[in-house]
């Protein structure tokens, strides 16, 4: 495949050197591990006198149990509510007073905290982040109003948004009700209402530890400086016994399923289909890189197969896309999304997508479209170097889902190695009715 690429270009660069170039297209990362198990990654960039610290915990919504959903996310909120030595809200006040930016996020496999600040304040943010790794105080007085904040966040992101409610219903079918990835990260409302300070403190105690975290520092610093500071502030924190994280190797039962949400708030219908898919970690993982290429060529832009067929040629849709994310500790999904054109139905859209998947399965993909998709993915890796936040995001996602620094650094080469027959094999593996949930979002008949 690479040979074809280079020969087709007619330039005198040998195959091996192209492969070598790909492996170093991303900035080299320095990595080391402290005695207590905290893994540290340093991504130096001298372009501006600023640094970003990202602390990733290897825990998320998919590590919760039935009846206690939303706990990882709620705890993330409480991490700003004080430690033994810092008052509630002080962490954020100090960051702001120093001109810094900060935030935090919770996903299915990962909880992250990040600050960007002047390079000479790195020590300060490392001291404070290390402090709340071990010394958080979860008190009822702070928990009570914050529970309402968490519920307001869920209203804003989910309950006010019909498509988000549909996504939750799709996940319940695809990954299984009450199973990891089938339960919402923001938690079911009744669960969030029941969670107490004791629940959060126990979850914190169980999962927040140096040997269950990855520290990533990017920007105007160097590995020696980061090592010294990490030893000083994170080094003294005690290691904890951490249970192995479990993820099911199967998804929902009784697939295929069809989920329809008729909602008075919806004006324009949407059609979607999600297939259970392997990730880098679970399932037929050998397909993961080919699936990334497949998603690109099938629905990654306006030149993709789906867009050309549904939007440009047949005009049954106003938009059409495909989506796949391989960074998951468990199974993941490969999704299609399309928006029917005026006067066209979701049935017509569904049929047009089915035609395209059949065509792909019957005829395979061309070397040229695979090459285009690969180039696009590789260029993204170069553009990603242009921002201080993207490096930590990429390493954080990989390392919290069982990947290694080497996996990240080798990613361009593995993408470049995908062949048209790999793509076809991956498509055959994933496009199966017994792994599919079809979803329809539609206006209520007669509603505005």
């Amino acid at each position: 495949m690479l040979g074809g690429l280079v020969a087709g270009a007619g330039i005198a660069v040998g195959r091996p050197s192209f492969a070598t170039l790909l492996t170093v297209a991303r900035r080299p990362a320095e990595t080391f591990t402290l005695g207590n198990g905290l893994q540290v990654i340093v991504l130096p960039s001298r372009r501006a006198p600023i640094v970003t610290q990202v602390l990733i915990y290897k825990v998320g919504g998919a590590d919760e149990v039935v009846g206690r959903t939303g706990i990882a996310h709620f705890l993330e909120h409480m991490m700003f509510k004080g430690t033994a030595t810092l008052g509630p809200g002080e962490f954020s006040k100090i960051i702001a007073r120093n001109g810094g930016r900060e935030n935090a996020f919770t996903d299915f496999d990962i909880t992250g905290y990040h600050q960007t600040i002047a390079a000479d304040r790195l020590e300060m943010v490392m001291r404070m982040e290390a402090d709340r790794m071990a010394n958080l105080r979860v008190v009822e007085k702070e928990l009570t109003p914050e529970r309402q904040v968490v519920l307001e966040e869920r209203r804003m992101r989910t309950e006010n948004v019909p498509s988000s409610l549909l996504d939750e219903a799709v996940r319940e079918q695809l990954f299984g009700r009450n199973k990891p990835y089938g339960m919402p990260v923001s938690g079911y409302v009744d669960d969030v209402k029941r969670l107490g300070a004791g629940d959060l403190a126990a979850f914190y105690k169980k999962h927040y530890a140096p040997n269950n975290a990855v520290l990533i520092v990017a920007g105007d610093t160097d590995p020696d400086a980061v090592r010294k500071l990490a030893e000083r502030y994170y080094g003294p924190l005690a290691k904890k016994p951490i249970e192995a994280r479990r993820r099911p190797s199967s998804g929902g039962t009784d697939l295929p399923q069809r989920v329809i949400r008729a909602d008075a708030r919806v004006v324009e219908a949407r059609w979607g289909r999600d297939y259970l898919a392997p990730s880098y970690r679970v399932g037929e993982t050998r397909h993961a890189y080919a699936l990334s290429v497949l998603a690109r060529l099938m629905g990654g832009s306006e030149t993709s197969r789906l867009w050309r067929a549904l939007v440009s040629d047949r005009k049954v849709a106003l938009s059409a896309s495909a989506d796949y994310g391989a960074s998951s500790l468990g199974l993941t999904s490969f999704g299609f999304d399309a928006h029917p054109a005026r006067g066209r139905t979701v049935t017509e859209v569904e049929r047009a997508v089915a035609d395209q998947t059949k065509k792909l399965l019957d005829d395979g993909v061309t070397a040229e479209e695979v090459e285009r998709a690969q180039n696009r993915l590789l260029a993204q890796a170069i553009y990603a170097q242009d921002s201080l936040s993207s490096g930590p995001r990429i390493y954080g996602a990989a390392l919290s889902t069982g990947g290694t620094v080497a996996d990240v650094d080798d990613w361009p080469r593995r993408i470049a190695a995908v062949t048209p027959s790999d793509v076809l094999a991956a498509a055959r593996h994933v496009f199966r009715d017994d792994g599919a949930v079809t979803s329809v979002l539609t206006p209520v008949e007669g509603a505005k």
Partner: protein, 442 residues
């Protein structure tokens, strides 16, 4: 074919990574090309990428009669085929050389952006030239974009925050060209013809009102060459007509738009302050203390932290060419939104009456002086800054003076500007949802 360009780009990327440039403060160069095109440039070789932000005078506020929406539609279509490249062929060529090129319209300006790997810059600037000089406006693409634009108008009606923003613009700017009018937009989008689109492009794509910011792996001489290639053939049109200055008169009222959602979205808007007002920095500091970014503002403390009434509440100074606003936004459960609005109004009154503490003032200054350099973490963000400095009419050395201007703000300055701006008697409140205990006040 495609691989040549990209392989060269990857090679360049690698070489650049191996020779990382030393740290440097932002050094803004003013470039004037042989053809007289002017641009601001920050050369930055740390990543093999070039970012260009540019715009032309004339936007969606003042459009030909019955043709509302023509500017945005035209902007989209500039990259939907140009020269001999019909529709998808243009997009394909841009993708093949990893060029991201797009145009859009705001109320006052038609803007564009180009992002390209420096090794592919020739192709990037050539596609930019084609898009502006030889756009095709093929009927098939026009119909596709028209249908998408009409659908976007419908979908915007599904999102409470968008509805609140639109209703606010309609109300606050009633009688002024900035007023949003969904029905006029629908009608305009439906009736726009290919000739209308061509005429609009010819009117606005002009060298006379061009503002350009460039950041990245390109030097002044090469930028000059590329700018002349891309923009050199544009005509020098007379300036398009301007909207009249908005008369900042608002009658206090509350508008409720019923929607079947569990959470109500709120906007509270008052007249704001012009960017060139002598009290701008006092207002900037005041706004930060009231509801600026981060978790420490008064509104966040009172509405979110203490009472748990919202996930987010913030205030901001909005500046348009002919108007300015101070806008506060939040969202709260239908049953609690009345309390959230009450607390916000109380905080507005408290700041107006009592001013700010010395500690709040000092904290705001260290944040506002420190936050700008921290935000410059990509060439795109530097390009945006360079661009907005020019739009605001500020000199290239403004960044050297900015900290001193912020630091000079006194508590008395903040008090004065708070009395001037925080006027509950001239605030419009828009609520979208099913609010309990928050009746409309006509």
């Amino acid at each position: 074919m495609t691989a040549r360009v990209v392989l060269a780009a990857v090679l360049a990327a690698v070489l650049a990574v191996l020779s990382i440039a030393p740290a440097a403060a932002i050094d803004i160069k003013q470039v004037t090309t042989p053809l007289g095109i002017k641009a601001w440039l920050v050369e930055d070789k740390s990543v093999p990428v070039i970012n260009l932000s540019f715009s032309f005078e004339g936007g969606s506020a003042l459009e030909p009669e019955g043709r509302k929406g023509v500017t945005s539609l035209m902007a989209l279509l500039l990259t939907d085929g140009a020269g001999s490249l019909a529709g998808p062929a243009f997009k394909q060529r841009a993708e093949d050389s990893e060029v991201a090129l797009g145009f859009g319209a705001s109320l006052d300006r038609l803007s564009g952006s180009l992002r390209v790997l420096s090794a592919n810059r020739g192709e990037g600037f050539e596609l930019l030239r084609l898009a502006m000089i030889e756009p095709r406006f093929d009927p098939e693409m026009v119909e596709q974009r028209r249908a998408q634009a009409l659908s976007n108008v419908n979908q915007a009606g599904q999102r409470p925050a968008t509805v609140a923003g639109r209703v606010m613009m309609t109300t606050v700017f009633a009688g002024h060209p900035y007023a949003a009018d969904t029905e006029a937009l629908r009608a305009g989008l439906k009736s726009v013809t290919v000739d209308d689109l061509k005429a609009r492009a010819a009117d606005l794509l002009s060298r006379s009102s061009l503002v350009i910011a460039a950041v990245g792996d390109i030097d002044a001489a090469e930028l000059s060459r590329q700018l002349d290639r891309a923009f050199g053939a544009l005509p020098a049109n007379p300036a398009p007509p301007e909207a009249p200055q908005w008369k900042a008169e608002i009658r206090k009222r509350t508008i409720v738009i019923e929607r079947p959602v569990p959470q109500s979205t709120v906007q509270i808007v008052m007249p704001g302050i012009a960017r060139n007002d002598k009290d701008w920095y006092a207002a900037f500091v005041m706004n930060h203390i009231l509801g600026g970014s981060g978790l420490g503002s008064r509104l966040t403390t009172e509405v979110r932290e203490k009472r748990g009434l919202t996930y987010g509440v913030s205030s901001g100074l909005r500046v348009y060419k002919k108007a300015s606003l101070l806008a506060i936004s939040t969202a709260s459960a239908n049953e609690k939104v009345a309390e959230a609005v009450r607390v916000i109004r109380a905080e507005i009154a408290r700041l107006r009456t009592d001013g700010v503490t010395a500690e709040e003032l000092a904290d705001a200054k260290t944040y506002l002086t420190g936050a700008l350099p921290v935000s410059l973490d990509s060439s795109g963000s530097v390009a945006s800054l360079l661009y907005s400095l020019q739009i605001d009419g500020l000199p290239p050395d403004h960044l050297d003076k900015r900290s001193a201007l912020i630091s000079a703000v006194t508590a008395e300055d903040v008090r004065r500007v708070a009395r001037r701006l925080l006027r509950d008697d001239s605030a419009i409140t828009v609520v979208v949802g099913k609010p309990v205990g928050l009746p409309p006040e006509p």
